[in-house]
Symmetry: C2
Subunit: 262 residues, 2 copies
Amino acid sequence: MNSTKTVSFIGAGNVATHLAKALYKNKFLIKQVFSKSFTNANSLAKKVNAQPIDLLTQLSPNAEIYIIAVPDDAIEKVLKQFPFKNKLVVHTSGSVGVDVFSKNGFSNFGIFYPLQTFSKNKIVDFTKVPFCLEANTKTNLKSIEAVAKYLSDKIYPINSEQRQLLHLAAVFACNFSNNMYQIAFEICNQHQIDFDILKPLIKETASKIEKYNPLEVQTGPAKRNDKKTIQKHLSLLENQKNYQEIYRLITESIVQSLVHKS
Amino acid sequence: MNSTKTVSFIGAGNVATHLAKALYKNKFLIKQVFSKSFTNANSLAKKVNAQPIDLLTQLSPNAEIYIIAVPDDAIEKVLKQFPFKNKLVVHTSGSVGVDVFSKNGFSNFGIFYPLQTFSKNKIVDFTKVPFCLEANTKTNLKSIEAVAKYLSDKIYPINSEQRQLLHLAAVFACNFSNNMYQIAFEICNQHQIDFDILKPLIKETASKIEKYNPLEVQTGPAKRNDKKTIQKHLSLLENQKNYQEIYRLITESIVQSLVHKS
């Protein structure tokens, strides 16, 4: 193996694009980019000096690693048509188990999961993105790690069961906290209050996690068990029963978390 | 009125300390610092070259503005003992209405509410802190604004009803999102997963709010209405019924928010 690493991409969406560009920048040779849509394959291939293909039978065997970055429910379809069962193949999904490879007759495989949300036009600083890796052998793990280390210092070996739970935790930490922002946004909107007022507080709350456990920095009426304010808030939500119920449940959750602490 | 402004503080806790130090730095004259505990009064007074006092009867009438920064339930007690009913007096609370002043016979009053969480040892960059202001007259509002403008560009006139709703919105956006971090932290902890893996994602989720409405950047299984993953997650929470219930409710809330959008 010489120092230039050769990678091919199956998929040309957000994750594939961000990863391929980052690897290309790090002197990787991007051999081919596959997409069902030749236009999409070509659009990414041009950026990373690769060959665009729209049939998996056109895949060259001359890549060291094949990175499958397609929607979760398309992974198995790709694997069934994949022409080489002995090459090192990885997928980038947080929730699809590693057994999808063995089930389909592969002998060298793994997971290459960058835990971050990727938006099309926003540049990703991969040095800050955690990579959760898994492979079927130590040698394959080393090969995958070697690629990830070019992009990030944050490499975590995570098995499929843990990755599933990590994905669940991410739903709470990110998707659900974003819904809390959304509810706050609506309350502001309904009452002609500028949502911008809350932005510095949202930022500060998230940045405290850097140094402290969330329990240590919990604040607010639930934390103080300030029943007068809690009651006032519940009555302000009288006409939005679903938000009232969320307020009640999470307040209870905060009270309980503090009981368990003490 | 000359260009030096004179302010006295009632209270010597986190908010008083951060505000007094910031005003002192901006060439304000801090006349007196009151605290029930002389030690606390003295500790802050030393830092801002003020006179420490522990009796409200010792208050000098020679300040232009009196800033009451004490716990919510102590504000009324302070007002009842306050020796000057005609001086401009403000409190810094998010949830105590402005009527607490009129009820207690004051004729010049207002609210000086910096919307941020203050931790004892963390330096506060006030230039990024929104100040929510209210006063009983235009002249008093102008006087309070003049003080706030030394500290921050973000000045918002907010009446007491709006401030109450803003406080409710802040509970969702900050206290509740922190509880979401806490649940994620627990899930990681229970399964020997390093919580650090989620930190960049938490940061990115919060920073998206800067440019986008929360609804636009909602991601995850609820957003995609991915019933298979939602069902898997609910079954992973089978032994934690309270978290299962929160998962169910917020998933429903996200689905609903997207229905209303389309």
